[in-house]
């Protein structure tokens, strides 16, 4: 890569850092306010009705409820920066530890699901666009509408019915760690990943197909064909690559949807991930953990979007040079 171009992309990325920082700050503030705008006494709410007076007093001190709001926020933010998200008052476990323990499950689930849905959707979209208007294309267009109308929890249920209950090929619930049993791990991730990624297949496919059809009509494709290149090379370098820009954006946007979906899927398949932790914490009104999770999830989504935006400017030379 030419250094000037890389530095162009880098400087464009760096220019967006202040805005990123501002958004992150706002997200942290919103998260912080969640616990602190609780009606009534936060300590009482956090501990529940049957807590003793001493416990409540200790918590009030711990939360520094006597200090002004802003000071508490600064303190909390500082702690969060050093990796201290507080300690659950239900389990006594540090929130950071609980999250770090469960993060690998969610990350693996999300990545496997994203990878599967990208591979499937890219193949289908390229095929569909190449034979636009053909039988396959029309079938896939219709099917993508159907696929998007299936909620992920329903799909999860159907997958369990077919592959776990009826066929007995794959486990309906549970998680096997990769370090213990790689094959068992794959088996336990596959149904959840499909359930989580199916909607994304439809979303990615429609975006990419639409862009590819537009690209395939351009002179650059006729030019590439007039150079005698192979269909594969034309589709890959001259059609897919220029069309992949919106796909990258959509992937960034959908990461939020995938994290949201993992909450349901992890609960459904009883996977010990971050999403499950969130549901459990909400059910147990473990608000310190909920707050920590909200911060981690919000920050992750923003960072992923920032990264995909930056990636965008590396893919498209026109954007990284600042015109168009």
């Amino acid at each position: 890569m030419g250094n000037d171009l890389v530095s162009g992309a880098l400087s464009r990325t760096i220019r967006r850092v202040p805005r990123l920082a501002l958004t992150l700050l706002a997200v942290s503030f919103l998260t912080f306010m969640l616990t602190n705008l609780l009606p009534g006494d936060p300590a009482l709410t956090l501990l529940g009705e049957n807590a003793s007076d001493e416990q409540i007093e200790a918590l009030r001190l711990d939360l520094r409820l006597d200090e002004p709001l802003l000071a508490r926020y600064v303190q909390w933010l500082g702690d969060a920066f050093t990796g201290d998200l507080g300690t659950s008052y239900r389990t006594g476990q540090p929130v950071t530890e609980a999250i770090v323990e469960r993060l690998p499950v969610t990350v693996e689930l999300g990545l496997v699901s994203l990878a599967m849905s990208l591979v499937v959707s890219i193949l289908l979209a390229v095929w569909s666009a190449y034979r636009a208007g053909g039988v396959v294309d029309r079938f896939l267009t219709t099917a993508s509408f159907g696929l998007m109308a299936v909620p992920n929890f329903l799909l999860a249920l159907l997958l369990v019915i077919v592959f776990a209950v009826r066929l007995g090929w794959l486990p309906a619930t549970g998680w096997v760690r990769f370090s213990e049993d790689p094959i068992g791990n794959m088996k336990s991730v596959i149904l959840p990943a499909i359930a989580l990624g199916a909607n994304e297949v439809a979303v990615f496919m429609r975006v990419l197909r639409s862009d590819m059809v537009t690209t395939l009509r351009q002179d650059s494709i006729t030019m590439a064909r007039s150079k005698g290149l192979s269909t594969r090379r034309i589709l890959l370098f001259h059609a897919f690559r220029p069309s992949s820009l919106s796909l990258v954006t959509i992937v960034g946007v959908q990461v939020g949807a995938i994290i949201g979906g993992s909450v349901i899927i992890e609960t459904m398949f009883a996977l010990p991930g971050v999403g499950r932790l969130l549901v459990d914490s909400i059910a147990e009104r473990d608000l310190i953990t909920v707050q920590g999770l909200a911060l981690v999830i919000g920050v992750s989504v923003i960072l992923v979007n920032f990264l995909t935006d930056s990636l965008y400017s590396f893919i498209d030379p026109r954007i990284r040079d600042g015109d168009r």
Binding site: V27, A132, A149, V160, V165, R206, G256, I259, V263, I297
Partner: protein, 296 residues
């Protein structure tokens, strides 16, 4: 007319849209749109008439006739507690429709207004609206919804209002984008030059042009809210049992999947067809507005 300096009219391509096939496609879409509208009307009638229709009590437990397949007594069979599925389905439609219509109405109204104002006034107000929506959109909708529900408690009203509030940024963005594209047009500029009060100008000139895009978006969003409510029910965090919702029915059926699928089928199909119908209608609307949509 002098001889034109124009690009060739027919740009032959590797895979241009097939004109002959498109005609068939168009007709098929029209049929599916009509079916979709018909289905939605049916669901609405069920939702509105749930209390007056001659149906069994949706919460009447009858352990003896649990998990029955469809029969003349129970047209859609019974669930694990022997409750009539048809009645629960119809009452569930009420919840689904109430939540989704209320949430979308809040989102469209507030978001549309904010976006329109932001797109017209620009400047600091626009920055604020966009900044706040960035922050809200940073959270996956379901996560923020769960978190807020954890604090506020769960009731039909709370769920509708929170979903509505959380979707405001989306509508605000759609409205702002459309306002911007409209205000590029000369006639709006002309109106503001002629001294129509600024905000009045917004409404008179811009509003008609953003209603359609917002409506198209709202139809798709209705479907999303129905799924969202289902997700909550699945997590056991929607309206409190025993009141039926489609999501609750699907969640309840989970216990019996190794024995029978009858409890699953009615609610699952209802949810699928409703979401499908809404997205088809939304897509149809989008295509009528967006000429480019013909290719998409």
């Amino acid at each position: 007319m002098a001889i034109g300096d124009v690009a060739p009219a027919t740009a032959p391509t590797l895979a241009a849209s097939p004109t002959a096939g498109r005609r068939r496609t168009r007709r098929r879409w029209r049929v599916s749109t009509v079916l979709g509208v018909g289905w939605i009307v049916l669901v609405l009638v069920a939702a509105v008439g749930a209390d007056v229709l001659p149906l069994a009590d949706p919460n009447a437990v009858d352990a003896k006739s649990a998990l029955q397949p469809p029969s003349s007594d129970h047209w859609l069979g019974t669930d694990g507690l022997g409750r009539d599925q048809l009645s629960r389905l119809v009452h569930g439609a009420q919840v689904s429709m109430t939540v989704s219509v209320a949430a979308v109405a809040i989102g469209v109204f507030v978001g549309g207004l904010l976006g329109l104002t932001a797109g017209y006034l620009r400047g600091r107000f626009e920055g604020l609206v966009l900044g706040v929506s960035d922050v809200v959109l940073a959270f996956p909708g379901l996560v923020l919804l769960l978190v807020l529900l954890a604090y506020v408690g769960r009731s039909l009203v709370a769920i509708s209002v929170i979903i509505g509030i959380l979707s405001i940024p989306l509508y605000a963005r759609v409205a702002r984008a459309n306002t911007l594209s409209v205000t590029e047009h000369e006639y709006v500029r002309a109106a503001s030059v002629l001294g129509a009060t600024r905000l009045l100008g917004v409404f008179r000139e811009v509003l008609p042009n953003i209603v359609l895009p917002l409506t198209a978006y709202a139809f798709v969003a209705l479907g999303r809210v129905i799924v969202l409510e289902g997700s909550l029910a699945f997590l056991g965090l929607s309206v409190k049992p025993p009141d039926p919702t489609w999501g609750q029915m699907i969640a309840d059926s989970k216990r019996h999947i190794s024995d029978t699928l009858w409890p699953l089928i009615p609610a699952a199909s209802a949810m699928f067809f409703t979401v499908l119908a809404l997205s088809l209608i939304g897509d149809r609307l989008r295509r009528t507005i967006d000429v480019r949509g013909e290719d998409a």
